[in-house]
């Protein structure tokens, strides 16, 4: 008796696999979908080719005056010529090396943090948060070790943006944690003070806070106290941002099961021991995405200082637009700024997603 040999499996129909299959399931699964696809393609066709043509193919890249821009495309010469100002603001050109040095130093300090086996990570982290800002301040403002003194009103450009946002981040996280703990406190006065503080700063726009710090702080302080404009802006930003940070941290604190608090108490830990060793490490890990989102918002918000007359990167670009030699290149300048901000913000959000995945120790559904 001959054994039964099944007919070999037929390959799947050609229209269900490969490129055609993918197109059928993802782009043309129904009439409505096909129509949507075609409309989107037409929109892309309308936008993308002219944009590429303008920004790359017809653009002018090299030159040192507006005469170089005659091809009708984007004039990146404008950005190139003013690049130093966009990066360093009004800082004296001979002293740019100080800013560069601070940048290189930061990168050099950060690299070991990403090496798994590096043993002194906490100490290095502490140094970056505490020691490094002092070094940077001495480098930037000078006046010591024979460095030329540069007043803060000449700090500017991307440098100022980064300084403002890192100071804001460094100040708002501890303040925010304190406020969040205060808001969850059982002591009624501590709690209400925290609530009022948080809700006040969250209820007003940052501009009014900056206006307040630039107009009212001089009134608040004793006669003759000189208060640096940059410092005033920093205080405003830090207070404003700490309220948002507090709400993020509070979310994390609320998500910790009550058993954790009780277990810590049962072990005889004091409030600060249980908070620092048990609660906060878990709570902060849980709210990393929220913290990074707050940082991103802070980074974007630093652009507002241009309204009170500090020269961050956007203000430098705006000043460039008013230059009579370069009138009419607003699109190029603002596009460049948008690209820089976008890279920073997008990078941070991606990094937070990666961090979230890395630190995730629980069970993911």
């Amino acid at each position: 008796m001959s054994t039964h040999t099944p007919h070999p499996d037929l390959p799947p129909p050609l229209i269900n696999v490969g490129l055609i299959g993918w197109l059928r399931t993802n782009l043309f699964s129904s009439w409505a979908n096909a129509l949507l696809t075609l409309v989107s393609m037409y929109l892309l066709y309308l936008m993308i080719p002219p944009l590429i043509d303008w920004a790359f193919i017809k653009a002018d890249w090299v030159g040192d005056s507006r005469e170089a821009c005659d091809s009708g495309g984007a004039c990146w010469v404008f950005v190139g010529v003013r690049m130093d100002q966009f990066m360093y603001g009004l800082y004296p050109a001979s002293e740019y090396w100080r800013i560069n040095l601070a940048g290189v130093l930061l990168v050099a300090l950060m690299v070991p943090l990403f090496i798994k086996q590096f043993p002194w990570k906490p100490w290095l982290g502490l140094f970056i948060v505490v020691g490094y800002p002092i070094i940077v301040f001495m480098l930037f403002s000078g006046g010591v070790f024979g460095l030329e003194y540069v007043e803060t009103s000449r700090w500017g450009g991307l440098t100022l943006t980064l300084v403002l946002s890192s100071v804001g981040m460094a100040a708002s996280l501890p303040l925010g944690i304190l406020l969040a703990l205060g808001r969850r406190s059982t002591m009624p006065i501590v709690k209400s003070v925290s609530v009022v503080f948080i809700e006040f700063w969250r209820g007003v726009p940052l501009i009014t806070v900056l206006f307040m710090s630039s107009v009212m702080l001089p009134l608040f302080l004793p006669e003759g106290t000189h208060f640096d404009k940059l410092l005033r802006a920093m205080i405003g930003i830090a207070l404003f941002q700490s309220a948002y940070m507090a709400e993020v941290v509070r979310g994390g604190l609320a998500a910790i099961p009550k058993g954790q608090y009780e277990a810590a108490q049962a072990l005889g830990l004091s409030f600060w021991q249980s908070t620092g060793l048990i609660i906060l490490p878990q709570a902060l890990k849980m709210v990393i995405p929220g913290i990074v989102n707050t940082f991103i918002a802070l980074f974007k918000d630093t652009t507002l200082v241009l309204i009170i007359g500090l020269f961050d990167m956007l203000a430098m670009i705006q000043a460039g637009l008013a230059d009579p030699n370069w009138l009419g290149y607003a699109i190029e300048g603002l596009m460049f700024a948008a690209l820089v901000y976008w890279i920073f913000c997008f990078g941070m959000s991606r990094y937070s997603m990666a961090l979230e995945r890395k630190l995730h120790t629980g069970h993911k559904r």
Binding site: N26, L27, S29, N33, L36, T37, S40, M41, L43, L44, T186, M187, P188, I189, V190, V193, F200, R202, G203, V204, P205, L206, I207, T208, F211, M212, V215, M216, P218, L219, F220, L221, P222, E223, I296, K300, D301, T303, L304, L306, I307, L314, Q318, L321, G328, A330, I331, L334, M335, A337, A338, Y341, W342, C345, F346, S349
Partner: protein, 396 residues
């Protein structure tokens, strides 16, 4: 001896600084003292400084003549009006841009958020690109982009972009025909509100009937027909008491019609697009938070996809969306203060800007401005909390 031991233990008082109640009271008293001392320090400094600079405190300046013009005003205003009036003008302009922004941002945001979850690969990618581009660029930069790079370089009034000789777009703004009501138009308005009231009762009746008998009533389509149809009928029968005032080019600019100044257009555009990107993310997370089991269960019960969406998915998704939506609305209102960067006459620009500079009453002006934003925030969040409570899942 054990009994002796226990006696000494119980006799040994817990030291004062170890008692939670004592510590808590001491700490709070200290805190209050610190705050009072700090407040006193600020207050005395402020009073002394103001005295030195010759600034009188109080709100009397509000009734002084302002003497400066404002670009756009929803109420009657000119140089002879008071500083108090400038406050009102600025406030109304802020509210105008906030309402416009919330309206457009909500529509665009829901559209993009749904598009992001589309099964169509291309549409989903386009929506993602929109969100990732616009929420990662500072709002101020976007406002400046629309204003300085898009609206300012538009042609002059003589070479306006022209749609059907009725809508004109140029570097002075957007000019559209303005509806002018004639006698008898109020009837149409009355009909509109009457239709809404009738609609409300029909909806209630339909709900009661469905609860009692299970019979459904096409509330939405009937309601739409009523709210659109009744005013239109009244409008036609009362002799179409409305005409359009078209903008006309005269001299250097247009006159007549409704003028949207470029500052308002740029601000509305930037605020709506920026906030829409965040709303879209809220919508996406809301829809994704409804587990797939809900959809499957609804299908298993025999509900059609459209009904499933309406009765199962959207109500549950809204619970996640509403709180996020609230905070985005609040952000939009606060962000509208960026108007001052391009010179749109909002509260911060007019009142905390020009009025503050002219009068020097920093404390009063800033306090009033902040007070307004705090009030707006409170009102919006109270409304949203009320709504939220109504829609909240009743948990055991």
């Amino acid at each position: 001896m054990p009994s002796d031991n226990a006696k000494t233990l119980s006799q040994k008082k817990v030291p004062l600084w170890r008692q939670p109640a004592v510590r808590s009271i001491t700490f709070q008293v200290l805190l209050v003292l610190c705050i009072v001392a700090f407040g006193n320090f600020l207050l005395s400094n402020t009073l002394q400084n103001m005295e030195q600079r010759g600034i009188t405190t109080g709100f009397a300046f509000l009734s002084n003549e302002a003497g400066f013009g404002i670009l756009q005003s929803l109420i009657e205003y000119d140089e002879t009006h008071t500083y108090g009036r400038t406050f009102l003008v600025g406030l109304l302009n802020t509210l105008l841009v906030a309402v416009l922004g919330i309206f457009f941002a909500t529509f665009l945001g829901f559209f993009i958020g749904v598009a992001r979850l589309s099964h169509n690969w291309l549409v989903a990618r386009l929506a993602t690109a929109f969100i990732e581009i616009f929420r990662n660029i500072p709002l101020l930069l976007q406002i400046m982009f629309w204003y300085f790079a898009v609206l300012r370089p538009l042609p002059s009034p003589r070479q306006s972009l022209n749609v059907g000789d009725a809508v004109f777009l140029n570097n002075r703004g957007l000019f559209v025909p303005r509806p002018v009501a004639e006698d008898g138009f109020s009837l149409t308005v009355v009909a509109f509100f009457a239709a809404i009231v009738v609609m409300f009762f029909i909806a209630r009746w339909a709900r009661h009937r469905q609860d009692a008998t299970g019979q459904q009533f096409p509330t939405v389509s009937v309601g739409l027909a009523l709210i659109v149809g009744l005013p239109s009928l009244v409008f036609l029968f009362s002799g179409s008491p409305l005409h359009w005032d078209n903008p006309v080019l005269g001299g250097f600019n247009f006159s007549g019609g409704l003028e949207v100044i470029p500052e308002l257009a740029a601000l509305t555009l930037a605020l709506s697009i920026y906030t829409a990107a965040f709303i879209a993310e809220a919508v996406r997370s809301g829809i994704q938070s409804v587990s797939h089991g809900q959809t499957e269960a609804a299908y298993a019960l025999g509900l059609r996809p459209r009904v499933t969406l309406k009765l199962v998915i959207i109500p549950q998704a809204m619970r996640v969306i509403i709180p996020q939506l609230t905070s985005q609305y609040l952000n939009l209102v606060k962000n509208s203060s960026l108007a001052t960067a391009i010179g749109y006459p909002d509260l911060v620009n007019v009142f905390a800007g020009t009025t503050l500079n002219q009068t020097g009453q920093a404390v009063e002006v800033i306090a009033m401005t902040m007070g307004v934003y705090l009030m707006i925030s409170l009102v919006i969040s109270m409304f949203m909390n009320w709504y939220n409570k109504r829609k909240q899942l009743v948990e055991r």
